[in-house]
């Protein structure tokens, strides 16, 4: 049984913060494909299109029939631990700082044998289920979990290195005025976050749900206006070193394409929040988060961006909003670059039309703010970096994967009935 995690002690300000060290990050191009699926929480291996042989490690050719046509497919993740060891020395600094470390050989029911990190609750020669996740270097790795849930399972030291579990962590929610921001704060509190800083712009202006928000255990209301550089910088100066998780709930959304509007005012407002707001947050909070990726029990672990799925491909009904979301998605990729090597994950949730007033006329199916908040918590607890939420978003992503150019045509032909 996993020992329940204890609330980490308050950090001694005189102590040096460890520099982030990383597990090995060098991978082949095929292994990077494995990483992209691990980032979605998928356990996928290469399957030969001709002879159906499943192979591992990632390769270029089927070792059974020499076909070059190997397709990544989700694989039954059951298997058996056939050998294990506890490493007590390592040439790699990251692991050396974390010894002892348990690894083992798993024979998958599907065929191949893999090497994996082993959860502490897996017994000798027991059956396991495998998950693929990104590690602190941002690369895909495999971990073997007990077949059934065990008490405090998420608190396992090796598993927690792959996840961003909010338990005993501190989080910043950038906009608490909306139902989404409030659901997010509540969900973080429920998930065990100890302090939840919630940003409120222009706090003299009343807003619905303010009393309930303030009453959530752990919530601290902070002045924050993402459209104001000074406001963002002031908050970062005050609590930036305590943001283990940052969830950017701030959004500015208005219907309309360029021809539906006069001038650029609305579009500029959208950019101020959706793009420049994100940029300000990155510049104010990014440096300190990046430096705290290895701060042991108090480490920074995740930056969460909530984006409309039309960030991938513009839907003219919300044409300029989509453009600002596309800009934000692009910036998020840049943040991944900045955070690479820090151990802090950038999580992108692409969602379909949200159940809120600016999307009121759009038809169902919609995503409730509660569901979006729960999805963020799940992504954090599971350590998943790329999430698609809701039937509309799933549909758009599926089309996007099939052919982004066909999707572009579909979205621009006589207003298809999909919504942000």
């Amino acid at each position: 049984m996993t020992k329940p995690l204890k609330r980490p002690p308050k950090k001694d300000p005189q102590k040096r913060t460890d520099s982030p060290t990383l597990p090995p990050f060098a991978r082949s191009r095929k292994a990077i494909a494995f990483t992209t699926m691990a980032a979605e929480g998928r356990f996928a291996l290469q399957v030969c299109s001709e002879c159906k042989h499943i192979s591992y490690p990632p390769r270029e050719i089927c070792p059974k029939c020499w076909s070059m046509d190997l397709q990544w497919q989700d694989i039954e993740n059951g298997g058996k631990l056939i050998s294990e060891t506890v490493l007590r020395t390592s040439v790699n600094t990251y692991f050396r700082e974390r010894m002892p470390w348990r690894v083992g050989t798993i024979k998958l029911d599907a065929g191949p044998t893999v090497l994996a990190h082993i959860h502490g609750d897996v017994g000798e020669f027991e059956r396991v289920r495998l998950i693929a996740r990104t590690d602190k270097s941002g690369q895909g790795v495999i971990m073997a979990l007990p077949e059934k849930e065990t008490p405090n399972m998420a608190d396992d030291r090796q598993l927690r290195a792959l996840t961003c579990d909010p338990k005993y962590r501190r989080a910043l929610v950038t906009d608490g005025r909306t139902e989404l921001g409030q659901c997010m704060a509540k969900a973080l509190s429920n998930a065990g976050a100890t302090r939840i800083f919630v940003g409120i712009a222009e706090d003299w202006r009343p807003y619905e749900g303010s009393d309930e928000l303030a009453a959530i255990p752990g919530v601290e209301i902070m002045p924050l206006d993402v459209t104001d550089t000074i406001s963002v910088n002031e908050l970062a100066a005050e609590m930036g070193d305590k943001a283990d998780i940052l969830v950017n709930t701030a959004e500015y959304i208005r219907p309309g394409s360029p021809l539906d509007r006069h001038g650029v005012t609305l579009a500029r407002d959208e950019m101020e929040t959706n793009y420049f707001g994100l940029l300000r947050l990155m510049q104010a909070f990014g440096h300190v988060m990046r430096s705290r990726g290895a701060d042991r029990d108090n480490s920074a672990c995740a930056w969460v961006n909530l984006l409309s799925v039309y960030a991938l491909s513009n839907w003219p009904v919300y044409g300029t909003t989509s453009a600002s979301q596309a800009a934000a998605l692009s910036l998020s990729q840049s943040l991944r670059g900045d955070f690479s090597g820090s151990g802090v994950k950038v999580i992108n949730v692409l969602f379909g039309p949200l159940e809120e007033s600016w999307r009121q006329p759009l038809p169902p199916p919609k995503v409730t703010p509660q569901r979006l908040a729960d999805t963020v918590i799940n992504a954090l607890q599971e350590g998943i970096e790329n999430v698609t939420l809701g039937p509309v978003a799933e549909d758009v992503v599926r089309r996007y994967r099939q052919d982004p150019f066909v999707l572009e045509r579909e979205l621009t032909q006589l207003q298809m009935g999909m919504g942000v």
């Binding site: 090995p24 991978r27 494995f34 050998s83 390592s90 692991f95 690894v103 044998t113 090497l115 590690d135």
Partner: protein
């Protein structure tokens, strides 16, 4: 047909590049055997740390113009495999005298650097899991082997202790303090069940020998040995979920038939020994005992140079150190010394037939390359 074995004394760390170690091996080979740049027309090299060069660049560096050249990348199997390549070249007339060199340097951080970029499969699928390097891979094999074949830590300990005894007279051995079985059993865990004394010490060093026709060796008045048989195999038994046997098991019949001798005719065995589990596997797979009988076999012999079933008579890599690819030559070079009666204080009496085995390249979860040869004194 094989002659002129030389070993360049190992060093834990060396500031010199691999080129220096290989050059020194060549220089010694020349001095010992009275030959110079004009006397060899074949070169075969094995090295991990020679980057950016290969055997090709070394021809100019060494001032030779061979008509036959090879670079063997099989690590711990390189001794036997180099021998096979060179012997075929001489047999078919492609070369008359082949210098076979293996050597690597060991700078302060070069072992870690080598593990980081060892191979694509290890980079993608094993190194990210705790970066235990070979300790990790062999601990999984050892654990599985112990569970399935009843081999105990005492058995592995006995092999390590015997090799340490053999190493005590070896001038350049990294480990020269006597080792007891109790010390082995109480040793610090490295990667369960592997302990400190199961692991080899990475170091710098080089080993070399010459391959030529018998009549040429006699004309030069060089002590030499003959090759009775040899085999090699790569990626054997790919469907075994974890390695418990090597390529030897596939080739064992041909190995003994070709030589016309039996395992009981063998006077000494040199196995590849980075971790004793692989020694036990080689003893089984080469037919010195049945599969699953290694524990009994180990308890029935002393493995010292002056006892029963002399094994790794120069102390092996476990006591002498692992000088990269030279570790693949160590057993072969020692066997040549034993069969030519030049093994000094560790000489096995009346040594006529030696078996030498190699194992190398832990690519992902297992060693890919295996080989073995039988040698006879002239």
């Amino acid at each position: 047909m094989v002659a002129g074995a030389v070993t360049i004394p190992y060093e834990r760390y060396s500031p010199e590049p691999a080129h220096w170690w290989l050059a020194r091996a060549l220089s010694e080979l020349g001095k010992e055997n009275g030959i110079g740049p004009d006397d060899i027309d074949g070169l075969c090299v094995s090295s991990f740390t020679l980057f950016p060069d290969t055997a090709a660049g070394l021809t100019q560096h060494f001032g030779i113009n061979p008509r036959w050249l090879d670079h063997v990348p099989t690590g711990g199997a390189s001794g036997v495999i180099t021998l096979r390549r060179a012997a075929r070249a001489v047999q078919s007339g492609d070369a008359n005298v082949v210098a076979c060199l293996a050597g690597d340097t060991n700078h302060v951080d070069s072992f870690r650097a080598m593990l980081t970029t060892f191979s694509r499969f290890s980079q993608d699928a094993s190194y990210p899991y705790g970066s235990g390097g070979p300790n990790g891979s062999f601990s999984l094999m050892t654990s599985h082997y112990m569970n399935n074949y009843g081999v105990r830590r005492e058995d592995f300990g006995k092999l390590c202790v015997a090799q340490r005894t053999n190493a005590l007279k070896i001038e350049h051995a990294m480990m020269k303090k006597p080792l007891t079985l109790d010390e082995y059993l109480d040793a610090r865990l490295i990667a369960d069940p592997i302990v400190l004394y199961d692991c080899v010490m990475p170091c710098a060093g080089a080993e070399a020998y010459l391959v030529m026709r018998e009549e040429d060796a006699r004309a030069k008045n060089l002590p030499y040995v003959n090759i009775l048989s040899s085999v090699e195999r790569h990626n054997s038994f790919p469907d075994d979920p974890i390695q418990f046997r090597g390529g030897w098991a596939l080739d064992i019949d041909e190995f003994w038939t070709m030589a016309g001798v039996k395992p009981t005719d063998v006077d000494l065995l040199q196995t590849y020994d980075d971790y004793p589990v692989i020694c036990a596997m080689q003893m089984e797979d080469l037919g010195f005992c049945e599969k699953g009988a290694a524990s009994e076999f180990i308890q029935g012999n002393t493995f010292t140079y002056d006892g029963s079933f002399p094994h790794n008579t120069s102390g092996g890599q476990l006591s002498v150190g692992q000088a990269g690819a030279a570790g693949g030559f160590l057993g072969l070079v020692e066997a040549i010394r034993q069969l030519t009666g030049t093994a000094g204080g560790n000489q096995v009496k009346r040594a006529k037939i030696a078996a030498v085995s190699g194992f190398g390249i832990i690519n992902f979860d297992r060693g890919l390359c295996s080989g073995a040869c039988l040698l006879e004194s002239s």
